[in-house]
């Protein structure tokens, strides 16, 4: 009679243990049928287990080896990155955002060079405490607010080094977040922009000086015209009074005295004008060989902030290898400045016009032509013949001197300045300047 075989019921049959269970049951069947001793089975199982252990051990060794290689690669990368951070010309610092006082935990060498602080001054301290009392603390408040909103800060500011020396820098501070989006650090970089800033300031100063020269030039011209206009009636008044004095000679002494007062005051007025003229005496132009293209580029550089602030675009179409001209740099720059600002003003009125152009060309072997072409409102035909006249202006705050002075400057250089309306839009002011023949010979 067959004995019932108790199957060891596995708690749970899974794909991995199914095979083992089947094999165990097979063994048990063999044992029960007397073909296999239970001890032998155990031995067999033990051997299998041992084999498995050896394999595991081997795998472990491989893994360890791999890990070592990986570690080495990571180490090298950290080394390279640290080296790179240390040798860059940007001041880099890292702030720990999880510690309450937001200490700086790292700063690269350039940061120390730039700020003049040492590692001791910096590490463990709050970035915002790293400024001298004379620094604008409003800047720092702004940065703190922006960072508190989780945004990056980007801005240029004037800083002080530890020794008090000022420098301009461009500061970037960006939050660094972990995989849950929590800000753990801030990384900051600081670039020294002092040289660039100085250059900007120099350009602004040059422009101011040039504008001042222009204003003084305009004023001198204005006073000169005024002196001429006023001296005519003063001449007449003096002559009339002296004539009356002679007619009344030996008669009415009271009238004689009044006439003398008129004469005295006439001469006083004349003296005031004479002194004003001396005061605003124009400096004599100095003529030297000039490259008109360079002069145009320099003038446009000076005007660039005005041009971009008005949302206008200026294109230069300068002919290569133009021969040099003989001229006064300041005066010719004054002419260009005047024509450019006139064009900008003409374009101000019509919102659709944005573009202007300066073009140079060589009309013949002896003359250079400079054209300032705008897309502005153009010149009303009834004004065309008057625009170069003293005191003529259609601008509410204009003196009416710019174009007349520009024309006299160009003519003093042996050239001619004129204007025409463009076929489509705007006007073109153009002037000629003779080529510096002396130098080319």
């Amino acid at each position: 009679m067959k004995k019932n075989i108790k199957w060891p019921l596995p708690k749970k049959i899974t794909r991995s243990n199914l095979e083992e269970q089947v094999r165990q049951q097979k063994d048990e069947l063999l044992v029960r049928s007397g073909q296999l001793k239970q001890g032998a089975v155990r031995e067999k199982l033990g051997a299998v287990r041992e084999k498995k252990g050896a394999v595991r051990e081997k795998l472990g060794a491989v893994r360890e080896k791999k890990g070592a290689v990986r570690e080495k690669v990571a180490e090298e990368q950290i080394h390279i990155r640290t080296k790179a951070m240390e040798s860059t010309f940007v001041g880099i610092f890292i702030i720990d955002a999880k510690t309450p006082n937001f200490p700086i935990i790292y700063a690269n060498q350039y940061f120390y060079n730039l700020t003049g602080y040492t590692k001791k001054n910096v590490i463990g301290r709050n970035y915002f405490l790293l400024h001298r009392p004379d620094t604008n603390s409003q800047d720092y408040e702004e940065i703190k607010q922006i960072l508190a909103q989780g945004k990056s800060f980007h801005g240029e500011m004037l800083n002080s080094r530890k020794d008090g020396e000022k420098f301009w820098s461009l500061l970037h501070i960006t939050p660094v977040r972990d995989k849950n989006g929590i800000t753990t650090h801030y990384v900051g970089n600081k670039t020294d922009t002092t040289l660039m800033k100085q250059r900007d300031l120099e350009i602004a100063q040059q422009r101011e000086e040039l504008l001042h020269v222009t204003r003084v030039g305009k004023l001198a011209e204005f006073v000169s015209s005024l002196a001429h206009e006023i001296s005519q009636p003063l001449t007449a008044i003096l002559a009339y009074a002296q004539a009356a004095q002679r007619i009344l000679e030996g008669k009415n002494p009271q009238l004689q005295e009044i006439l003398q007062f008129i004469i005295n005051d006439d001469q006083r007025a004349a003296e005031v004008i004479r002194r004003l003229r001396v005061l605003l005496k124009k400096t004599k132009p100095t003529f030297e060989p000039l490259d008109i293209n360079i002069l145009i580029k320099n003038t446009v550089t000076l005007m660039m902030p005005y041009i971009t602030a008005r949302n206008k675009i200026i294109t230069l179409e300068l002919k290569n290898n133009l021969p040099s001209i003989q001229g006064d740099q300041i005066q010719l720059q004054q002419v260009l400045l005047n024509l450019i600002s006139n064009s900008l003003e003409a374009m101000e009125e019509s919102k659709d016009s944005h573009e202007m152009m300066i073009r140079t060309s060589c009309t013949d072997n002896s003359t250079i032509l400079v054209q300032v072409i705008d897309s502005g409102c153009g010149i009303p035909s009834e004004n065309m013949k008057n625009i170069f006249t003293h005191f003529f202006t259609n601008k509410p705050d204009g003196l009416g001197m710019g174009l007349s002075i520009s024309r006299s400057i160009v003519e003093a250089h042996g050239g001619h300045l004129d204007a025409k309306n463009n076929l489509e839009l705007g006007a073109t002011f153009y002037f000629t300047i003779p080529i510096n023949i002396k130098k080319d010979q």
């Binding site: 007449a236 003096l238 004539a243 004349a270 003229r277």
Partner: protein, 126 residues
């Protein structure tokens, strides 16, 4: 002795006033508001001293003096201008003028210069 004076100045009031003043000195004065009207009316060989303004529309003072010189006329010319004396006097003298007076001009100074100019022409003509 010639006592005829011509004045060329675009300012009518200046012309009238100088004419009145010189009249009190006994000069006979003819005024013109442009160089062209002067040339049209007065022949080159007609005697008389010219008081000449510089800044005028049309033919200016410098050009007027040049034309007089080119015509071979011996007419004495005195520039009277608002132009600064130091700027104008050299150029005026180079162009053969008798003198240069800056406006506003003192009557006695002008008359003295006119007398010098007249004597000069008289002696030249001798």
């Amino acid at each position: 002795m010639s006592s005829l004076i011509y004045i060329v100045d675009d300012d009518e009031s200046v012309c009238r006033a100088l004419k009145t003043l010189l009249g009190t000195y006994g000069f006979e004065v003819k005024v013109f508001n442009s160089a062209q009207s002067f040339f049209d009316a007065i022949p080159d060989d007609e005697p008389g001293c010219l008081l000449l303004d510089i800044h005028m529309p049309g033919i200016d003072g410098w050009e007027t003096q040049k034309r007089i010189l080119d015509s071979g006329s011996k007419r004495p010319v005195i520039f009277i201008s608002a132009e600064k004396k130091e700027n104008g006097i050299d150029r005026a003298m180079k162009l053969g003028a008798v003198g240069f007076l800056q406006k506003p001009v003192n009557g006695q100074t002008l008359v003295d210069l006119i007398n010098v100019a007249s004597k000069k022409t008289t002696s030249d003509n001798k």
